[in-house]
Amino acid sequence: MNAEMSFKRSTRRDHFDVDREIDKVIHRNLMNQSPPPGIYSTILGKVRIETTRPPADPARSLSCASALVAAAVLIVVAIVLAASRAPLAATHTPFFNWLSWIHSTSLSTWINESESFLAYPTILFLHTLGLAVLVGFSVSADIRLLGVAPRIPLASVSRLFPFMWLGFWINAISGTLLFIADPIRKSMNPLFEIKLALVGLGLTCMVLIQRQLYLFDTAPGVEKRARSRSKVLAISSLAIWASAIAAGRLLAYLKSS
């Protein structure tokens, strides 16, 4: 029941007219005005600005560009390494010399021989941490795209990508340092270039997914078609990262055998 009516019903009769006065005063001062007619178009204008100022197209953003560059570099390096192993016996190829040079640098020696905790163990840990962040959030995003936890808005999934890029760069740097520590054995190991190629593919997948989510945000009509595409991308992403992890782990095992 209406609050005003029920209140009146419970008031004692002798206070009746004061309450009536109070209500009259309130009505006269508060209810006399409607919102100015122009206000709706003002609000609509602001809403339009909000919706047409799209989240920056990730395809043009720095992170995407750098990710694609990194992916390309990784794939190229993988191909180069694979190709350069062909003449296995040729241990004096310029490429091999270059690798030996890297191995002889002070940075490489420091990483390998330093007793300091900050050297090899820390770099290794950072590499694992970067992996956990990159693959971890990527997996979360992928399973969301596949329908898990459907109440997480897709816009939130887009916000995970900066963390993934951070994880990737941590691994890129730590990975480079690890390579510098042992370039020759790494490049002789076929699993190494497989891993690099897989990471490159994984990055490409990420960029595609990010683009896909952006399209969801700005062009809702695209949704139906894009849904199946995003599911395919999500499954591929999961598979690629799983394989990359496998390659990385097996790398550690085959190296020591």
């Binding site: 209406n2 109070i22 709706y40």
Partner: protein, 200 residues
């Protein structure tokens, strides 16, 4: 204000359809929602802020926030209640901000009224302008009493809806409203205005 439950139910259904369209980017649907609920939002904002310019600002902000959060609205309450909740939170935030400004402004008519409320109210009585005196008294009520009073008196909410909007139990709201009215009655009595018809 339709209190007929059938009319209410059909309005709520229309609201839900409009929300659905607005979430998918249909701005004209959002425009419709604004026009349907704008007056209610404006009145609620005015009840909390008094000034109509302040109420306009809050109304704009409330609708913008509502638009942004539209995707998260899952129908736990009616759209109207949800919208008014946003409005009241906006208004309270706004008030919290300008309260400090007002204190600095010291020359605001509310503050200058306080020491001389009695006198000006008395003179208002003498000149017969009871409503002015009363209105000034209402404005000087503490906000926690004034808010429920003004909102209930606007006559458009049930106690249950208000309880939802203000996030207070209905008992508390009812008590505060009667307390506010009691204070006003006492003040009027002290100024000599007969509050009982038999004393007139």
């Amino acid at each position: 204000m339709p209190t007929n439950p059938q009319v209410q139910a059909s309005r709520e259904k229309e609201d839900d359809e409009l929300v659905e369209r607005a979430v998918h980017g249909d701005l004209s649907a959002f425009d419709d929602l604004m026009r349907r609920h704008g007056p209610a939002v404006f009145r609620a904002a005015r009840a909390l802020l008094i000034s109509s310019t302040d109420a306009e600002d809050v109304m704009q902000e409330a609708f913008l926030i509502a638009y942004r959060k539209l995707a998260y609205f899952r129908g736990e309450s009616t759209f109207k209640t949800w919208l008014l909740k946003i409005t009241s939170r906006c208004a309270l935030r706004y008030r919290g901000n300008i309260a400090r400004r007002l204190h600095r402004l010291a020359s605001s008519d509310i503050a200058s009224d306080l020491p001389s409320t009695e006198k000006s109210a008395e003179s208002a009585l003498l000149s017969g302008e009871l409503s002015d005196a009363l209105w000034r008294m209402i404005r000087t009520l503490p906000e926690r009493l004034r808010d429920p009073l003004l909102l209930t008196a606007s006559g458009q909410y049930t106690y249950e809806e208000l309880s939802d909007i203000l996030d207070l139990p209905t008992g508390t709201i009812k008590w505060r409203v009667s307390e506010a009215r009691r204070i006003l009655r006492d003040k009027l009595q002290r100024l000599g205005y007969p509050t009982r018809p038999d004393l007139q």
